[in-house]
Symmetry: C2
Subunit: 339 residues, 2 copies
Amino acid sequence: MDRVKMADVAREAGVSAMTVSRVINGKGYVSDETRRRVLRVIERLGYRPSGIARGLATRRTGTIGLVVPDVANPFFADVARGVEESAYAEGYNVFLCNTDEDPQRELAALGSLEERQVDGLILCSSRLTEDELHKVVARHTSFVLVNRRLVGARTHSVLLDDEAAGRLATQHLLRIGRRAVGLVAGPETSHSGQLRAKGYRAALAADGLPYYPEWVRPCAPTASGGRQATLELLSNHPELTGLVCYNDLVAVGALQAAKDRGCQVPADLAIVGHDDIPLAALVTPALTTCRMPRYELGTRAVGLLLEQLDSSAEPSAEIVLSPELVVRASAPGPPETEP
Amino acid sequence: MDRVKMADVAREAGVSAMTVSRVINGKGYVSDETRRRVLRVIERLGYRPSGIARGLATRRTGTIGLVVPDVANPFFADVARGVEESAYAEGYNVFLCNTDEDPQRELAALGSLEERQVDGLILCSSRLTEDELHKVVARHTSFVLVNRRLVGARTHSVLLDDEAAGRLATQHLLRIGRRAVGLVAGPETSHSGQLRAKGYRAALAADGLPYYPEWVRPCAPTASGGRQATLELLSNHPELTGLVCYNDLVAVGALQAAKDRGCQVPADLAIVGHDDIPLAALVTPALTTCRMPRYELGTRAVGLLLEQLDSSAEPSAEIVLSPELVVRASAPGPPETEP
DNA sequence: TATAATCCTGTTAGCGCTAACGGAAACGTA
DNA sequence: TACGTTTCCGTTAGCGCTAACAGGATTATA
């Protein structure tokens, strides 16, 4: 039992395949009577056009490739959701490739998507070297980087202002009177982590406070990484009254470490995370955190990509999305002051 | 600048396009010398075959469609990861469609995937009616249902034993001496929820305990739904010493409700969740839960799908995956007994 | 040496659709 | 009425690859 082809519909409707194509694509001219006749046959035969054949003829597949390091990470899941819903609304389908944080997997996925002739590519938090990334970008006319910049390339990017996030988190602690504020910094190789640390230092300087490197600890980007780094920090520096954490997962580890040491949160130690993943609101005490608009990362990336598809030789564009402080029990806001 | 075609490679290598195809696909006979010459030209020109053209000629696209209700839900994210990694290992790419729990979106996604001529479809936790589902299945030769059964259809399914999960969770509480065990049941329309409730009742009966309907409360499948239902249960039935919860999110809500009422967990009230999402290990106290092998749901679904693709007219197969109890602080195990 | 099988390569037709163009009829305007 | 424009439909060629077959050369065996 073969699939119904346009030629089958054409024969039954007594028109050419090209007329059927015109009806389906709403192009050119078709009389109302002819259109009705064709649509009736389409309905009766249950015809569905072949996107494959269409892609070959038009050199457009109506697909977008999205490459993410780990779809089970709530951060990337939200980006994927943003991409998928925006793309779907514009009639595109998304090929999602998960690379398990492996650059080799990433290169393979990109190659595979090229063979499938996706109309454009969105590459999220790439783990490739700058060299590799330049080569990849050169092969595609429509490409958007998410959460990564590439200097010297005609590439669109959607970024998060990680420096502002680090500053905002630190400022909040300073504003509620915490003067001994440490940083659980995440992986030393993390570009986001470095920018958040820069924001931390900038907030201290803006308040005229000294920066103590011994109050800063790198860690794995996991709850247990955060727990361990916090235990070490608190045991060497019991004077700390606040902690800025690389992300919410690390902050949950810090909560656990505080409990391990009989430290009350927020009374003895106030804690601030980053990202506002769903977990942040569900732990006790709920986390104060810098919310990063992940879903919007996805939707804006699609926006940029579609602009590229609709026009040619655009100069590269860069969108930077700003964080927003979400105040919860782990670091409550300052007391209300009378106006 | 046009993409390099097989014909370009053929011209430079001084062979026909068909020989290039043979080299690329490792089919038929090609002399070593010719193969080397062709591969050199492929490398030099940076040729990548068109998967689109190949799909049209071979009627195989090397793609699998996966439809999930919410990719940001950790349950489905893990299924997606399992599918993607298994498929990738077999040389397939996955089209992931997110339906936002909307049956109309689901039907649209399925139609779209049909046009793209995916080689097979995996439909996860479908929200379609039985009628609708029958119609969808009839259009595809290769189809796998995940976490849903369809009676009267030649369809493969991969299922979770939700009844066993409910039984296991309840048995654990009974084993640690909790005789007044309630159930926060999740949505009344949830098939999984109904099976877990059945398992709860079976475990009570197996211990010769009476079933009290007033100890059972439906709720939304969210933390706040769980919190509210638990508050109501505890206020009407302060005699309860244990709670089985529909899933981990609902169980976190129950933790919050217990704290609201000054109830110590597990001393006054032991709590068990379902699914073992990452959150379960990160809250305090960490949740005892029934771990459902979501990643394996995905990998087994791909396995079944590939079997279908490799042979014809297979009878329908059904795989049922079993839960596993993960004991944590919210409901610790029984004290060790001397052998 | 004759025959059959294997190796190697090229040619042909087709997968299912669409861009581009052409021809005819109908319509609008001067 | 003549001319230009619009509407309507069909034909042609092609998108980039591959299944199937054919023809010639080489190898193995009786």
